[in-house]
Structures are given as structure tokens and as C-alpha cells.
Symmetry: C2
Amino acid sequence: RYFHFCKLPGRVMGIRLLRFTSVVIIVLLLVAGALTALLPNVKDDKLPNLRREPKPQSQSALDSFTLIMQTYNRTDLLLKLLNHYQAIPHLHKVIVVWNNIGEKTPEEMWNSLGPHPVPVVFKVQSVNRMRNRLQNFPELETKAVLMMDDDTLVSAHDLAFAFSVWQQFPEHIVGFVPRKHISTPSGVYSYGSFELQNPGFGNGDQYSMVLIGAAFFHSGYLEDFQRQPEAVYALIDETQNCDDIAMNFLVAKHTGKPSGVFVKPVDIRNLEKDTNSGYSGMWHRAEHLLQRSYCVNKLVNIYDGMPLKYSNIMISQFGFPNYANHKNKM
Amino acid sequence: RYFHFCKLPGRVMGIRLLRFTSVVIIVLLLVAGALTALLPNVKDDKLPNLRREPKPQSQSALDSFTLIMQTYNRTDLLLKLLNHYQAIPHLHKVIVVWNNIGEKTPEEMWNSLGPHPVPVVFKVQSVNRMRNRLQNFPELETKAVLMMDDDTLVSAHDLAFAFSVWQQFPEHIVGFVPRKHISTPSGVYSYGSFELQNPGFGNGDQYSMVLIGAAFFHSGYLEDFQRQPEAVYALIDETQNCDDIAMNFLVAKHTGKPSGVFVKPVDIRNLEKDTNSGYSGMWHRAEHLLQRSYCVNKLVNIYDGMPLKYSNIMISQFGFPNYANHKNKM
């Protein structure tokens, strides 16, 4: 009989145990929930998601950059530039994107004239595409990418300073060639440079893009570029143009800020006249600028909005080239 | 008798209940701990702690700044500058720190010549102290402070641009007068400007301070200044100097970065020659510079280390004063 009595408390104990377990489980779920909610939000971290980067990052790779140079039909210029850029401070590696389909790279000649201070990798492409240079190359080990056109020479001082600026603005395209878009009453955007003026914008000028033909940017953006809408790739391939505009859209969308930081170059030169190939850059094509306005409007449609933002900040190196470069006649 | 039997399970239940409660309490403590640990760390938030600011912030107060100008013995210059600065865009209020102990302010005359676009508050001081201007004035309603010496005129363009730069670098002192310290083999620091060169530093120059006599900074730093070691106040009062060096130490300690961002002024002028008071600024005193080196070394002792960091970034307005200001002869 007391069993009967004693069973009751037993059952009660069973129920209590059940409650106990369930309560603990609920509380633990709450903990888990709280922790997850409080994890740093990827969107807050404005840098391209590095967890998407499986590559090992040696210490030197953190304090150095990779030069990516795409070349087509101007091997003489390429070799000249490879020689120029071999001695830049913090240069980790050079990746040459070889768009001369069916032609041999100068790799043999290059190596025969070694040793060279910095390794050069020739990436032979199967199709001559503007956007070949925007691949996420497995040889790329640094966070910082320096992308240079194959006809542009920038002084070692400018590059060293711009790299130090990029290290302070790693989420931006830090470069030497600013451009802008302007909106017109018709709602159509126009692409250009200093010759374009924003209606109603006061003193000075603004830029909303920094071209990647002479710029530092985060290698994570090359990964992000692989995940863009197909229409973006189609636009770039159709025009063989505008890959740099697309990159500015991508960065502006990612950061919600102006895509670029403009560093005033002390010495930047176009070497095109030095080539014997007789080949001149695609930006000489009559339709080049028109295409770029066309691309801005297309990209606004593709991304369903205009992410580009204006900046009027120009950065130069304090006290260089002369100690009084910060003075103005007073 | 069965009571005896039945008490046992009862006790067991009691113990289980005890266990249950204690486990839940422990788990809850864990949650609390986790939550606290995951709260945003004030040190991470590089801005001065705004929760310490009880003041109401009107919308305009968020997009505008307060001009704080300390004056001594140069009322004619003061009135000239008040007139100059009345029309600066985004100016919310002017606070005049009146260090002419025992003398009447020109408030009456100022008001008799009204109306004026921006309110001017005269803060009569009881002691003539350099650091009077670094109080956390109750009249200060904006996050941004523009501090100007009473003999310095900066153009409206420069001020408007520098304010837009400060909005992008609110944790820094954004101003027009860069200075630096250098360390010597003897371990003693020296204070100066372009005439000082860091041993072993290559091309260009660097700065490690931006003087607050012509600069924007966050009003929260005025609060932080009230919580410095007594020795800092003693040093400033003893020398009637170095309050600006102390502010750079404070900001550098707070951010762990260079304290200042240097904006290259297009038009900055010293109006001292225009005063009739015959009084000339304290920086003319023979000991002025020596005092400032002395202060740097004292502050290093007080703060037990050198927080100042170097920067070589110089910011100017893109396309101003002329659209080609970003070009260099190539």
C-alpha cells in the first residue's frame, strides 16, 4: 500500500526530472541563440570576408602585395615594366595575365636573364578577355593586390606611399586615376572625368570611382567578383571594357561608402608611345567613353540602383617631394 | 511507518529540487557572463564614449559644429574673427572663452550690432589659464568642435572641407597645423616641425600631432580631458603652454592611432600684425619651443610611455582651388 503512496512521489520525481531537463535544454537553446545573435555581423565587418580565403597567409604576405598585370600584344612594354617593378618595396609576387592567345610568353627569356628579386608567374589564358585579370588566382597569397595596366608606369615612391595608404583603407580601391559619374535630369547617367560637372555641386570636384588600372585593392574583392550576376560578365565581354567600373560598383555596394581613395601621384607615365608593336590601347577606340557611360547605366539596371558615392578627398604624401609641399602662399 | 519510507523520496526530491535550482542558476550565470563578454567593448568603439554626454543632440547639432575661441587682450582681432566666422557653413554656435580677467566682454557692443546669423556665448573666466578652452562647456551641443586661436584666420572653403573630412575621421584631430616629436639616441624627445628629421626616416616627412589652435575634434575629448592626471593640468598651468600637445597625447592613447589628420589649407593667415593691442602671442616667447619639448618629455613620464604615432597622410580637396590640382607635370 505504501508502494502506492511511494509511487506517487516517484512519478512526481519523474515529472520534475523531465521539467528539469527540458528547462535546462530551453535555457541552453537561449544561450546558443544569444551567442549567435551577438556574433560579429559579417555586414558590419566591411572587409571582404576573409573566411572565404582558404589561402595560407605568411607574415610577409600580410605586409606585402601582389602585382597583377594583364598584357596583350605589347611584350616589349611588358618586359620594360617587369624590370621597373621588380624592385618595388613590399612586392611579394608578379602575376602576368597573358592574353596573347596562341603566342608564347617571354617566360624563357625572362628566366634566362635572371636571377630576379621577385617571382613572376605567367598565367596563359585561353580566351582574350578584359576580365581575365579579375580571376581569384591560386598564386595570389597576399591580401593586397596592385593592379596595373601594361602601358602605365608609376614611380616606386608613389607605389610605396599608396600601399601604406591602402593599409589604412583596406576596404577601398586606393589608386591614382579618379573618375566620376553624373546623373542628368533625364535620369540617364554619364561617365567622365574633370570635364563633367555635377549640376549644383559647388567648389572643387568629386570622384565616384578609382580605376583599377593603377590601384591597390583587397584580394577578397577578386573572390567577390566571381559571384556577380551573369549579366555583369556578359556586359564586360560584350564591350571588352568596364571591368573596372564593375569593380567600383562591387566595392561601393560592399562598403556603402565611396569605392575609392584617390592618391595624388607624383610621377605616373603612359609608356604607350614606347611600344614597337604598333598596338595602341583599347581606350583609343572611338566608342570607348560612350561604352563606359553605357556600362554605368547597364550596371545600375543589373544591380537595381546606383551604389557609387562621391568623395572629394585627395591624399598626398606629407613633405614629399619637397618638405614644403604642405605650404601654400599665404 | 510508510511516512518513514515516503520521507526518503521526499528528501531525494528536495535534493533534486536543490540541484535543479542550482544548475539553472549556474546556467543563467553563464548566460549573463556570455552576454557581458559579448557586449561591444568601449575600447573597440574608438569614439569618445557618447553615453557620457547627457546633452540633447538636435538634428542640426549632429551635422554642425561649435566654434570655441579663447581670447586674451586682443578684442579688436576677436571682433574681426567673429565677423569672419559668422557665415561659415554648418556653424552651430560660437563660444568665446574670455581670459581677460577683470575686463568687460564686448558682448554689449556685439549685440548692439546684431542681428547675427549664429549665437555667440561669452564665457568669462576667473583665472587666465591656457586650458580654460578645454572645458566641457554646457553650451556645447554639437559632436564637432572647431577650436581656433584668436589670431588665426582660415578660409570658409578650408573649414567646410575640413569639417567634411572630420565627419569621415571623427576620432581624430582634423586640422591645418601638423607638428612632430622625434626621439634622440639619448632617449630624450624633441618637439618641432619640418626642421626636425627623424633619423633613418626616408623620403618625405611625418607628423605626430595636429595642433588644436586650428582644428576640428570630437567634443567627447573635452570630457576625457577632465579626467586626466593632475600632473597634466599642473604642467599646462606651470608653462601656460602645451594644452594642445596634451590633447594629442589623449587622442593617440584613446585611438591607438595617429592623433591627427592633416588637411592642407588653401588659405590660412595669421592676423597678429592687425591687432592694435600691441600684445603678441605667447608663441613668441623665447622659451616657447623649448617648453614644448619639455612638455613632450614630461607627458611621456606622466602617461608612462609615448602614445604619439606618425602619419604622412596629407588631405586636400580634389579639384580645388583649380580643377587640375590633382595633376602633376608628367
